[in-house]
Structure formats: C-alpha cells, structure tokens
Amino acid sequence: MNITGEDLILACSAIGAGLALIAGIGPGIGQGIAAGHAAAAVGRNPGAKSDITSTMLLGQAVAETTGLYGLLIGMILLFVKPLT
C-alpha cells in the first residue's frame, strides 16, 4: 500500500478536524452553568421566569460561539481541504 503525501495530509486533516471539535467542551460547560443559575433564579423569583429565560438563551447563544468556531475549523478541514 502506497501512501502519497496527499493521502497523509488528508488523514491528518481528518485527525485535526476531530481535535478541533474538542472545542465543544467549553460551551457545553458554560451553557450548563448558565442554565443551572437560571434554574436557581427561577426558583427564587418565579414571577420573572420569561425575563430569565430570554436572558439565559441570549447568553447561551453568545457562549456557543467559541464551539462553533471549532466546528467551522473542522468543516473547513474536512470539506474545503485548504492544505492539499
């Protein structure tokens, strides 16, 4: 079996895409913390539930950004193949 340089780069790109998706850990933890605190806030003040929910969703969507950057890097490595 012959492995050309291009095959090697493709394989390494696939590994790199997998590694880039480790970035998903951060937003997961962050969104969990936000949701936990929102649940606690609703427990303390059930009247403000709709305000708390919209603030929580806004913050979570912003916190998600770093994970999405990782996803974008992974997709570019897999489908656009900039290195070959």
Partner: protein, 245 residues
Amino acid sequence: MNHAILMSSAADNVDFMIHGIISYEIFGHTVWITTSHVCILLVMLVLVGLSIAANRRMKRATETPEGFQNVLELLVEKLDGVIYATMGKVAAPKFANYFCTIFVFIFVSNISGLVGLRPPTADYGTTLALGLISFTLIHVTEFKNLPPKQIWADMCSPLPPWLPIWLPINLIGNIAVPISLSLRLFANILSGTVMMALVYGLLGKIAIVWPAVLHVYFDLFSGAIQTFVFCMLTMTYISQNYETE
C-alpha cells in the same frame, strides 16, 4: 480558486454544498450565480409579497382588528416592544424600521430550510454582508453622536487618553465585532443544514417522519434564537453610542 467557501463536492448522496448555476466573466474573474442567490431571491419575493398584502390590508384597517390585521399588529407590537426595551426612547424610533426589516429577513432565511431551500444565511457571503451593515451602523452612529474627544477616550479605554498603548487592542476588538456577529449566525445555520443533510443522506431509508423533530430544533428554534441574538447584539452596540444623551 474560483470556488466559494464550501462549494466543492463531498460524498455522493450527502449534499449540503452551494452549487453554481450560471457563471460569467467579469474583469477577468469567473463569478457564479449560486443556489444562495436563488434562495435569497425567493425569500425576498416572499417578503415583498407579504409586505404588499400587509399594505393593502392596512389601508382598509378597522378599529377592532380581525384576521390578518391582528397578526400584523401583534408582530409589529412585539418587535417594537423588544427594540424600545433594548435601545431606549431616544434611539429606538430611528432604528425600529431597520431592525424589524432585518429581523424578518434573517428569520425567514433561517427557516427557509423547512420548505427545502438551502438557507441563504448558511452562505458566508450573506452573513458577512449583514455583519458589515451592522459595523457601519455602529460606527456611523458613534461619529454622529459622540464628541471626538470621547471617542478617543473610549478607544484608549482602560488607560487615560494621553497614553494610547491600549489603542491597537481596542481597534482589533472593534474589527472583531462584525466577524463574530457574522460567523455566529453562519456557523449555527450551517451546522443545522449539515446535520439535516447527513440525516437525509445517510439514513434516507428510515428517515420518514421523525426528522420533523430535528427540523423543529435546527430550523425553527436555532434560527429564531440566532435571529434574536444577531438583532439584540447589534442593538446593544448601537445604543452604547447614545448613553450620554
């Protein structure tokens, strides 16, 4: 490279790419009319049709609303409420039209995956244009409303104005705003599109009714949240320039 980002072909039956339809030469470059252009035109046609219908309906508006008029009044009232709550009474009337337009446009673009189109916001060209419009608005309002002295002081912000060491970092922070706004919208909608394409492409035989649940999450929920976030962040950045009034 005459291919846009993500315009090459992947596996055989998994298809979430942007396809070129017509190409033409302009100043020595090959420019493609892609599926994104077609989808964005369809979205615009739907919105223009809706606006004409709304205009005709509101010309013979009644005191007690019913039917279509109810829906329109509810929509405008809710959007106005959000904009006034975020931007305050001074800035909101100037930007209410713009934000209602962009909200409806992004939302309809995001949920156009429901009718089988490829969402136009899953093309970086669209979202970068939206981000650049936001960037221009933010800085035009800044220069219109704040005295130059305060803009300079803001740019050197944590340090005093006579010591502009922090200036380059603030400049990079300003340039990062449209990039992060556009990439956030793009990556969210793109990930939804890719997920749905994978489900339909790889599980085509058993994807009968249950992907509807995924559509509700990826298209409706994610699309609505990201529309809200895009408008909300732009509104926050713009209303920062009105604080001294």
